[in-house]
């Protein structure tokens, strides 16, 4: 046994590694320009150029850092725009204007203008696929009008607009109102032969941003949008998320409304032998509002309301299906996946789903389970 082994070889290790002058990848936090969000637009002047806008936080301006106070939150971020033939080209041009290296590891939002989305975004997405720094969990969003407007909002609640946006989406996800569509999901859905992707769709005004629904894609091309009511029906049927409150006009009253808040959603898809699909969706929830008293006993009230909500939801789903099938011809319901999984030999092999989805008979059946009436007795 030799005694000095450990020390000797450890010394060797240290000496060798330090002789090789390490620290290639060491780049301190403050030496990285962390891009929190990227927006991609068509350049106004040149059809073939992309305009890329990025949002970079200015650490020293962030309130609360090292106790200095942040001053006005308005200029806590720097917004820069560049043009380029491709995304990487634009990023290159941007790097030339920055003192620090661009760092995409913290990019949380990728905003795409509707114009670009309608043209197809395959070329844009390729660089996001290859770049290892990009997170698969970032949220691509389609913006009405210019995508850069999304980065330029001044929400005031948060000093950094992207943090506000993240909060908006995360909260919506938790409530089950906004679908959690990440970049990774988009990749999976575009690769997958059985389904089509969709992305969240927002509209930004000067100081605010509001979620408007989802943009439906076919391949890499945006086909159109679904408004928030349809989206909620979509996520009930697709993601088993409850969606938002359902407000329905009460029949036989002048101006009465009833509001139903779903808490849990469950769905089941069955394929009949004659190749038609039925979505069974069960919603559990409470009555949260009843603007006009109906003066009927509770038992009757419950059954009446359940029937009312069921009818309303089935109508909405029918509209949704109409739009998806006839207008956009895009299967974002993951119906094709079910078909391929369960009826591979007898259906999938003989049909071209991308074409046949349009005419595939789909029915939706809702089951409403009214659980509670709130703190009121009726």
């Amino acid at each position: 046994m030799s005694m000095g082994k450990f020390l000797r070889y450890f010394a060797l290790l240290i000496v060798c590694t330090s002789l090789l002058t390490g620290c290639w990848d060491r780049r301190e936090l403050e030496e990285r320009a962390s891009v929190l969000a990227i927006a991609i637009d068509q350049d106004e002047d040149d059809e073939n150029l992309y305009k890329m806008t990025v949002q970079i936080p200015i650490p020293i301006k962030i309130a609360g850092s090292s106790g200095k106070g942040g001053g006005s939150g308005a200029d806590a971020v720097k917004i820069m725009s560049v043009t380029g033939r491709t995304v990487t080209d634009a990023a290159n041009n941007l790097q030339m204007r920055l003192n620090q290296r661009l760092f995409l590891g913290h990019t949380r939002i990728l905003a795409l203008s509707e114009e670009i989305a309608r043209k197809g975004i395959q070329d844009i997405m390729d660089s996001f696929r290859r770049e290892p720094q990009i997170r698969r969990l970032l949220w691509p969003i389609v913006v009405r009008g210019k995508a850069s407007t999304l980065l330029e909002i001044k929400p005031r609640i948060e000093p950094i607009p992207v943090v506000f946006l993240m909060g908006l989406i995360e909260n919506g996800m938790k409530l089950g109102r906004i679908p959690d569509q990440t970049l990774g999901d988009y990749f999976n859905q575009t690769s997958n032969l059985t389904m089509e992707p969709f992305l969240n769709y927002v509209e930004a005004s000067k100081n605010e941003v509001s979620w408007k629904g989802v943009a439906v894609f076919r391949g890499h091309k945006m086909m159109g949008i679904l408004d928030h009511l349809q989206t909620w029906a979509l996520i009930q049927l697709r993601n088993e998320k409850p969606g938002g409150d359902i407000v329905i006009a009460l029949p036989k009253t002048k101006n009465g409304y009833v509001s139903f808040r779903p808490h849990f959603a469950k769905k089941k898809v069955t394929i009949q032998d004659d190749f038609s699909a039925t979505f069974h969706c069960e919603l559990q929830g409470d009555i949260v509002e009843l603007t006009e008293d109906l003066h009927i006993p509770p038992e009757q009230f419950v059954t009446q309301m359940q029937a009312l909500i069921k009818k309303e939801m089935e109508n909405r789903a029918k509209k949704l299906l109409q739009q998806l099938q006839k207008q956009y011809n895009s299967d974002i319901l993951k119906l094709g996946l079910t078909l391929r999984a369960k009826h591979y030999h007898d259906y999938w092999k003989t049909h071209d789903w991308k074409k046949d989805f349009r005419d595939f008979p789909i029915r939706v059946k809702y089951t409403i389970k009214l659980r509670r009436l709130g703190m009121e007795m009726q």
Binding site: P298, K369, R371, L373, M375
Partner: protein
């Protein structure tokens, strides 16, 4: 079978009685008792107490007659084995369903008011697991747990109505007149359900220390519950007025909400109230379920291991049973059916038992006297 020691003191018996009686019912009692009687709703608890009192007397009588025996043991002696077995079955079923319904009602309260996004199942399961843990222990542990939890039960249920008297408008209680006496009886029959739980004494009396004053214990227990209910009803009526009470689903909880005091650390006590209320609901369900399981154990003359296994096994149907009502309205209709069954189990059977036993004693005495006479 192991030898169960008879070591429940008078106060332990009292606390078992109180905590089995005071459960989720208190959350709705201001509404139920004013439904018919309106501003004179406070008569409800009185008439309920009177009805329950009769049954309690019967049970105390039985307890004194059969010291150290649970009803599983003495029922066949009085009724004979066939009817006795039926009665035992009925009793066990009633306790079982009652435990399930109580758990469900509590789950509803929590889900509606405090944790709206938590699945109801989770709340029920956690509560039932707690009960299961209790059921793994011997019966003396039940008594001790009840005894220790009494302050958690009495303090909030007395404190909340008393504090809310600050907002009381006493005119809400007037005029003092009763419209119809049939309403009083009806309300009495309704409010009497709040006192159910005393029938568990048929099990627990068997473990009282020889010489424990059962009568005193049950009178104390009844009066505690009575006072609590009375105050709640009065507070409810005087704060809200009976018309508003009809619209509130959990009036006592609303009482907590209106009770706000400046200068306290916290505002809005309903979450805290419900958190403490877990103790009370737990004792109610725990006592009921324990009685079910324990009766089974006695019936089959098995040991503690049987009790543990059957507790686990019974927990599963209990859980699913508690999920049967689809919504709150259905839940209340189930509750109503259960009450009907309750009349049978909690009033009819004890009284009948007591009368039969009384008659038997009389006959026996007569016979004895006859024999004595014959001897002389």
């Amino acid at each position: 079978m192991e030898n169960q020691q008879r070591n429940f003191g008078t106060w332990q018996i009292t606390s078992i009685m109180i905590s089995s009686m005071i459960g989720v019912g208190i959350l709705t009692i201001p509404r139920t008792s004013t439904m018919l009687l309106q501003q004179a709703g406070w008569i409800g608890p009185i008439s309920g107490a009177l009805i329950a009192g009769v049954a309690v007397t019967a049970i105390v009588y039985l307890g004194n007659q059969f010291p150290g025996l649970t009803f599983v043991e003495f029922m066949p002696r009085i009724f004979g084995s066939v009817i006795g077995t039926m009665c035992i079955c009925l009793f066990i079923l009633y306790q079982f369903f009652n435990a399930g319904i109580t758990a469900r009602v509590f789950g509803e309260v929590v889900v509606t008011s405090v944790l709206p996004d938590t699945p109801l199942e989770v709340i029920i399961v956690t509560l039932l697991l707690l009960v299961l843990f209790l059921c793994c222990h011997e019966i003396e542990v039940v008594a001790r747990v009840n005894e220790l939890l009494i302050p958690f039960l009495l303090l909030p249920s007395l404190l909340i109505p008393l504090v809310s008297f600050m907002n009381a408008d006493w005119y809400n209680l007037l005029p003092f007149h009763v419209e119809s006496w049939t309403d009083v009886v009806k309300t009495g029959l309704d409010t009497y359900t709040l006192y159910t739980g005393y029938e568990l004494l048929m099990v627990y009396f068997a473990f009282a220390i020889p010489g424990a004053r059962l009568g005193v214990a049950s009178i104390t227990g009844m009066s505690f519950a009575f006072v609590v209910y009375m105050i709640s009803v009065i507070a409810g009526i005087s704060v809200f007025g009976y018309e508003e009470l009809q619209r509130l689903i959990w009036p006592t909880l609303e009482l907590v909400k209106v009770t706000q005091r400046t200068g306290w650390f916290l505002e809005r006590f309903e979450s805290a109230f419900l958190a403490i209320w877990v103790a009370s609901v737990f004792t109610t369900i725990g006592n009921m379920f324990y009685a079910t399981i324990f009766s089974l154990r006695q019936w089959f003359r098995k040991g503690i291991r049987f009790q543990r296994i059957s507790a686990i096994v019974m927990m599963v149907p209990l859980f699913f049973f508690s999920l049967i009502p689809q919504n709150i309205v259905e839940l209340y209709s189930y509750l109503k059916h259960l009450t009907t069954m309750g009349y049978m189990v909690t009033i009819f059977i004890p009284i009948l038992l007591a009368i039969t036993q009384f008659m038997r004693n009389k006959i026996n005495k007569g016979r004895k006297e006859n024999i004595e006479k014959g001897g002389t």
